[in-house]
């Protein structure tokens, strides 16, 4: 299962956002039990906010509940959350179950 955060960030703040994901984000999420999967961005030179997609993985919602508990009890998580909130314009979070396309 993947947790996918897709956020919009102004071009001048992309580097800061990625740094937060790469250092406190990876430490906090990893210590809580989530695995980093990927991070991807759209082009920063097309005159619009940059989309950043960050993926974390875990087994299922039972494991996510445990991760969530660990996060809530970790003071670093609250600081991390405030920092990413200050850097993004907007965004979404969705949970995806991995699947394969069916073929005719």
């Amino acid at each position: 299962m993947h947790l996918v955060d897709t956020v919009e960030v102004e071009p001048e703040r992309v580097e800061d956002y990625l740094e937060v994901i790469g250092t406190p984000g990876m430490a906090v999420m990893g210590d809580a039990g989530a695995s980093f999967v990927s991070c991807a961005t759209t082009c920063d030179a097309i005159g619009e906010a940059v989309c950043i997609e960050v993926r974390w993985s875990f087994d299922d919602h039972v494991q996510w509940d445990e991760i969530r508990k660990n996060l809530v009890l970790d003071p670093r998580y609250h600081q991390y959350g405030a920092t990413v909130a200050s850097l993004r314009v907007r965004g979404t979070r969705r949970f995806f179950t991995l699947t394969t396309p069916s073929q005719p």
């Binding site: 955060d5 897709t6 956020v7 919602h61 039972v62 996510w64 509940d65 969530r68 508990k69 996060l71 009890l73 998580y77 609250h78 991390y80 959350g81 405030a82 990413v84 909130a85 993004r88 907007r90 965004g91 979404t92 979070r93 969705r94 949970f95």
Partner: protein, 237 residues
């Protein structure tokens, strides 16, 4: 049973449609997670700096655990709440962790409509069980003196620290050690109580000081008109 309240302080710039989204997500939770009972929301009308209250219950800790691991909880409700969630619309609550609740034998909190009032209590940690029982007995007898008060329950705030499984405390004692849950037929009935001549109303007006054993050291109140899911079919009175 477990009785549970989540109390939210909203971001001042929270989009109106997102606030409605959170309200609806909470109100309709029982449609998706049948273990969530008596789900209702309300907009806090007291001076306390919190805006939204979600009240609900569970038949057992096992039922609560099913709520905790349900996809609707993670994907829909938490969308608005978790600190790193991009659609978060709440802020950290000035009343302390915004989760309160207690264990009970029966859903005696139930009322089909009206006004819910929560009085959050911090009792002196030197209080004896007898002191607390005496306080609870006095407060729970209030409806006999107060016409429009339909519900009056006093209980230890066990959910404040046992939020993960409903049983095991994960943190130290909560800021609010006890809850006094009340139900009134209307806002007018609540106001009649406040200004009325019942002994309990007099204690509240006096700020609890040195009354009922003097064990209430701090209090805060929330009250709201109860808004239920219109499709809910469970057997309320």
């Amino acid at each position: 049973m477990l009785r549970r309240f989540e109390v939210y302080a909203l971001r001042p710039d929270a989009p109106a449609d997102a606030v409605v989204g959170l309200e609806e997500a909470c109100r309709r939770c029982g449609r998706f997670i049948p273990e969530v009972l008596d789900s209702a929301v309300g907009t806090n009308l007291s001076d306390a700096p919190v805006q939204l209250v979600w009240e609900h219950g569970y038949a057992s800790p096992e039922a609560y655990r099913r709520y905790m691991v349900h996809p609707y909880h993670a994907a829909v409700i938490d969308r608005y709440l978790l600190p790193d969630a991009p659609e978060r619309i709440v802020i950290d609550g000035p009343l302390g962790a915004g989760l309160y609740g207690y264990r009970c034998d029966t859903p005696s909190y139930r009322m089909s409509s009206g006004v819910r009032r929560l009085v959050l209590l911090h009792l002196d940690n030197r209080s004896t069980e007898t002191d607390v029982a005496r306080l609870a007995e006095t407060l729970e007898e209030a409806p006999t003196d107060v016409g429009g008060m339909a519900v009056s329950i006093v209980a230890a705030n066990s959910m404040g620290s046992a939020w993960f499984d409903g049983v095991t405390p994960l943190m130290g004692p909560p800021r609010w050690t006890h809850i006094w849950e009340q139900g009134f037929s209307s806002l007018e009935a609540l106001e009649d109580y406040r200004h009325g001549d019942s002994s309990v109303a007099a204690v509240e007006r006096g700020g609890w000081d040195r009354q009922l054993g003097g064990i209430v050291k701090r209090s805060a109140e929330l009250f709201y008109e109860v808004s239920r899911d219109t499709e809910e079919t469970s057997g309320h009175e």
